[in-house]
């Protein structure tokens, strides 16, 4: 029942070669690629640490999946094509909600934030992964798939495929893909927006493989030529220290909890949106976006109109 095929492990040589290629193309001026050695080291070391940390919790997580699978509702054959198609869609939607939770609630953001701490956006950034994902418990979100009846090995393989897919979109070397591809799939352009700290781009494009979930659930934002992405987090890190990168938000949560004066405040600091504070002295992404939007009323109303399609007046004009 354990996954004999690990797409991520199989893809590691490809990851290394792709980074080498991106650096060389950047050096030759043939592709847009910025690499800063300390930033690159941080990203790759976080990736290596994440793999090691995953080994510590991976067994327990897989055992939990097996236990749930023993109580499954349906028998789903691992050899059926329809089962893989269904799993692809369900796993990708699960990823969307995991990712949204990981951005919009501080407890899970504490684990995910380090993926966003680079001020660069290149293939090494894709490997800047969490050390505390197992502890944060977001893996629980995938258990319903095993409860439905998808074998845990099948789920693990699909998760791996999704992660491998998401590697190549961490690049500035690729501008935009063909329109049909941009409409359906997560792409470098869509994911650059996700990694940007511009107020307009905050908490957008959570997709794993299919961008349709963002379009469906109202979190889609296209990359705009007039607003280049500025990468990083709202408060960029002032250090490359690996321990600080990995644990800074957990420590910050601990400090806030130590000063909380009530259960409500403690809950806010733990499960409120990142940036929440009891006295409103900090800003959440939502507040930053709102502040920005208040200064750009024309831009926002135009974008809203574009997102919802042409107005009746515009439609009638287009018929003339």
């Amino acid at each position: 029942m354990s996954p004999d095929v690990d797409p991520v492990a199989l893809a590691v040589p490809f990851f290394v070669l792709a980074i080498v290629l991106e650096i060389i193309l950047g050096r030759l001026g043939r592709a847009k690629a910025n690499y800063e050695p300390r930033d690159t080291f941080t990203s790759l070391a976080m990736g290596l640490g994440s793999t090691t940390a995953g080994l510590l919790t991976g067994g327990a997580i897989f055992a939990a999946s097996l236990w749930v699978y023993e109580h499954r509702l349906f028998e789903i054959p691992m050899t059926a094509i329809w089962a893989w198609v269904a799993l692809f869609l369900l796993e990708d939607m699960t990823y969307y909600w995991f990712h949204r939770l990981a951005h919009e609630r501080r407890f899970w953001w504490a684990s995910h934030v380090n993926h966003h701490t680079s001020q660069h956006y290149n293939l090494s950034t894709a490997l800047r992964q969490t050390w505390t994902g197992g502890v944060a418990g977001t893996w629980l979100l995938w258990l319903p798939l095993s409860l439905i009846g998808f074998p845990p090995a099948m789920v693990a393989i699909q998760k791996g495929i999704s992660l491998v897919y998401q590697f190549w979109i961490h690049t500035e070397a690729i501008g935009k893909m063909p329109r049909w591809f941009e409409a359906v799939f997560n792409t470098p352009s869509h994911h650059r927006v996700h990694h940007a700290r511009n107020p307009r781009y905050l908490d957008r494009n959570y997709a794993g493989v299919l961008i349709i979930w963002d379009r469906l659930f109202g979190t889609f934002q296209p990359e705009l030529a007039e607003e280049p992405c500025r990468y990083g987090v709202v408060k960029n890190l002032g250090t490359f220290n690996l321990l600080r990168v990995a644990f800074h938000e957990w420590v910050a949560i601990g400090r806030d909890l130590a000063t909380a004066r009530s259960l409500r405040e403690a809950a806010g600091y733990l499960f409120g949106p990142p940036g929440w504070s009891h006295d409103g002295s900090r800003e959440t992404s939502h507040q930053i976006r709102a502040r920005w939007a208040a200064t750009q009323p024309q831009t926002v109303s135009r974008e809203a109109a574009e997102a919802t399609g042409p107005t009746p007046a515009a439609r009638s004009e287009s018929r003339v």
Binding site: V12, V16, I19, V20, I23, I24, G26, R27, A33, N34, Y35, E36, P37, R38, D39, T40, F41, L44, A45, L48, T51, T52, L55, Q119, H120, S124, R230, G232, K235, N236, L237, G238, T239, F240, R244, F247, H248, E249, V251, A252, R255, R291, W292, T295
Partner: protein, 129 residues
């Protein structure tokens, strides 16, 4: 410890070394751009768009800046080829340790513990003005 794990870990470690070395060799960080007043104001504005900057001092190496905004100090520090910005009380900044031409400001932030800003003197002569 599992032998396969050790082999995989050491190979990965070697790959990390090669890739970091390659990125250093390539010299494709963001183009070095010494801070001037306009750039510093632009960077402060990105993080604190509502803050008016009363006074601004750029470090002599062009890698940082300190601004006074009312009773607050805004600190801009280079991180690799990027920047990080923090806000603290003006009292904290003005009383920070200045030694050997470097102002060392403790930021009280686990993600950015300290800012080191190179100034010729501190407090600056024009501060009282």
């Amino acid at each position: 410890m599992d032998k396969a794990f050790l082999i995989q870990f050491s190979s990965s470690l070697a790959a990390v070394g090669v890739l970091v070395g390659l990125s250093a060799w390539a010299r494709i960080g963001r183009p070095a751009r010494t801070l001037d007043e306009a750039r510093a104001r632009e960077l402060f504005f990105e993080d604190f768009p509502d803050r008016r900057i009363d006074r601004l001092w750029i470090t002599r190496d062009g890698k940082g800046a300190l601004a006074r905004s009312g009773e607050c100090a805004l600190v801009l520090m280079a991180v690799g080829d990027g920047f990080a910005v923090r806000r603290l009380s003006w009292c904290q900044a003005s009383s920070a340790m200045f030694k050997g031409g470097v102002l060392s400001i403790h930021l009280g932030d686990v993600a950015a513990p300290r800012a080191l800003l190179a100034f010729d003197n501190w407090p600056p002569a024009d501060l009282a003005a």
